[in-house]
Structures are given as structure tokens and as C-alpha cells.
């Protein structure tokens, strides 16, 4: 004989602990119900992907990996906007393609510019040789330059007066003239 307890929760626990009496035909009725269910179709690839996507999972990341993931999200959210200096705003849209390419794309965002030129070792540092083209409405300037294997220093020249390094590329240590350059290295193997 159990003692009656006053706490409603404890009374509920006691109730749930009481054994349940099953009717003799319980098992037969369950099996009959199962047999009446429609046979599930074999899941296709889309269904499998959808099932995978909606299933909760544990993702393990190193602290560095977590930081990288956070940076990717932040970059996506903020559009990679970064202030570079007075009157110039640049969005890093990807470093010049440099692994083994022959045509390297240079991109910089300078919304306030009326002209942007790419100037560097590959065009005799001639400000008129490689003008960049604006992408309408975005303040983004781009140009494609064929380059052979090698290491090239370059800068962007904004409005013919303001030198700007590429925020997406390494800077050079060879700063002989008081204005740093960016560098692109094109490989061959």
C-alpha cells in the first residue's frame, strides 16, 4: 500500500508508475494496424537530401575553423566593405587569380572614383596603359590582364592622383618610394 502524497507532481508520478494491464488481443491488434499501413516508397536522392537537411546534427569545428566560418558569414553579411582611406571605399572581391592563370582579374571597389587605372610592373607603370572598367551602379572597377609566370608589383591609381593598394592581395616589402604596392604571383606548375 502506497502512501498518498499531496504534491500533484508526485501523485502524477505515482499514477504513471502503476502497471498497465493489457488486453489479451493487444499484440494481434497492433500487428494488424501495422499491416494496414501503406508500404513506404524507396526514398529518392532529393528526399534523402531533404531528410539530411532537416535532421539536427552535431558539427565539430576547431576554434580556427569556427573563426573562419564566422568570417565567411560576416563577409557575406557585410558585403566585404572596408574603408581604405579618405574618399575611397573598397570592397575586397577576391584576390587576383594567381595559381596558374594566364589572365588575371583585378577588382577594386571605389565608389567615389571617376577613373581607376591599374599600374604595375606589367605595364611599365604607365597610368594610361590599363584603365579599369566600371561595373555600372556598383562603384566596382575591374580589368583582366594576361600575365605569364612571375611576381608582379602593382597599385591602383584613383582619379589620377591617389594610390591605392589592393586590399585582397599581399603587400610588398619593397617600398622604395614611400607608397606600398600590392603583389600578384603567377605560377607555372
Amino acid at each position: 500500500m502506497r502512501q498518498q502524497r499531496n504534491d500533484p507532481i508526485e501523485r502524477a508520478i505515482d499514477t504513471l508508475r502503476e502497471p498497465v494491464e493489457l488486453r489479451p488481443d493487444f499484440e494481434r491488434r497492433v500487428m494488424a494496424a501495422v499491416a494496414s499501413l501503406p508500404v513506404p516508397r524507396r526514398a529518392g536522392p532529393l528526399r534523402l537530401v531533404a531528410a539530411w537537411m532537416v535532421t539536427a546534427r552535431t558539427v565539430r569545428l576547431s576554434p580556427l575553423g569556427g573563426l573562419a566560418a564566422a568570417a565567411v558569414v560576416l563577409t557575406a553579411l557585410l558585403g566585404g566593405r572596408a574603408l581604405l582611406g579618405p574618399g575611397a571605399e573598397s570592397a575586397p572581391l577576391g584576390a587576383p587569380l594567381a595559381a596558374d592563370g594566364r589572365a588575371v582579374q583585378f577588382v577594386v571597389a571605389v565608389p567615389t572614383a571617376s577613373t581607376v587605372a591599374l599600374v604595375g610592373d606589367f605595364n611599365d607603370w604607365n597610368a594610361e596603359a590599363t584603365p579599369m572598367r566600371p561595373v555600372p551602379g556598383d562603384g566596382i572597377w575591374t580589368v583582366l590582364v594576361p600575365l605569364g609566370p612571375g611576381r608582379y608589383r602593382y597599385s591602383f591609381l584613383v582619379n589620377g592622383t591617389e594610390w591605392l593598394t589592393d586590399p585582397t592581395a599581399p603587400r610588398t616589402m619593397e617600398d622604395d618610394f614611400g607608397r606600398p604596392n600590392s603583389v600578384v604571383t603567377v605560377g607555372g606548375t
Binding site: V119, D124, P149, G150, M173, F177, G178, V183
Partner: protein, 210 residues
Amino acid sequence: MRHRLLAAVLATTALAAWHAPAQAQDPRLARRLPDEVRIPIEALIDSARARALPAEPLVDRALEGAAKGAGGERIVAAVRRLAGELGVARDALGSGSTSAELVAGAAALRAGARSDDLRHLRQRRPDRPVTVAAGVLADLVAVGVPPDTAAAAVLALAGRGEDADYIAFRRNVERDVALGATPTAALTVRLTGETLSSGDAPGPTRARKP
């Protein structure tokens, strides 16, 4: 008479050909530099040519100075310094090195690498260009990796790394540094990952000779 004329023409042609390098004027320099700057620079370039060093990087450096409005003395000093670095790079990398390799080697030297680092790099990649490897060395130093650590990492990858591997390695280190990792820690982590995936023993640091 005809033989004398032919001999005179041949002698004049030979003299002109022998004398030409010392008097060669690059029209790009002539257009963009005043004579008092152009003349000493052309002398430096002639001297470099005589030592079998590439002239184009020196012309580029002078033109960069002109484009940026630098003073004449500064331009001459920059060209002289680069010529010296190209010479050291050539001695370390070998006389058969390409101009691109020497430019990258000079950049690595400027960043703080030793000529022995370039020599070892050539030894480990005897049949492959070292342009990207030397350039990545300079780039790693530029993001804050100590020169000896950067050199050790580049040498550790030298035996098997393709150019694309080097560039990916550099980008990963730069990304980690941008996210807040210290340059040395970022390089060590990335290098350990590379060496573990290849089965090589990691060796990101080493003692530097006094």
C-alpha cells in the same frame, strides 16, 4: 676596292655591335626621366647586363619611381639596391635562373630571407621554378611571419609543393592572420596540416645562424 669596302662595313658593324650595350637607351626611360636621372640609371642597367642580370626589373623600378613622382636620387638608389639584390639572388639560385625567379628571390631577400635559404630552395626544387616559392616566402614575411620561420616553412614544402599549393598555403595563413591568429601560430597550424597530410615531419622553426 670592293674587298676594302666590305671590310670597312664589317668592321663598323662589329664595332657598333660591341659598343651598343653600353650606349643603349631605353626609350621608356628617355621619355619619363630627366637626363640627370636617366644617365646614372642606364649606367646601372649596363653594369647589370654585363653581369648577366636581367635589365627589365631595373627599368620597372625606375619607371615606378617616375610614376610616383619620386626624386632622382631616390630612384637611382632604388635601382642600385635592386641590382645588388638581383645579383645576390642569382648567385644563390644559379646562373641558369630566369628573370622571374631572380625577381622573386630579390623580394625574398628584401623581406629578410638569407641567400642560403634561396640556395636550399633551389637544391630542393632543382627541376622546377622557384618563382612562386620565393614569392610566397616574401609574402609570408609581409603578413608578419618571422623571416626564418617563413623560410623554414617554404623549404618544408619545397620538395613536393606545386605552385598552386604554395599560393593556397599563403592564402590560408593570411586568412588565419586576418581572423586574429598570430602569424607564427597560423603558419605552424597550416604547415602541420600540410605535413600531416603528406606524412612528412613538421619543421616550422629552426635555429638561425649567427
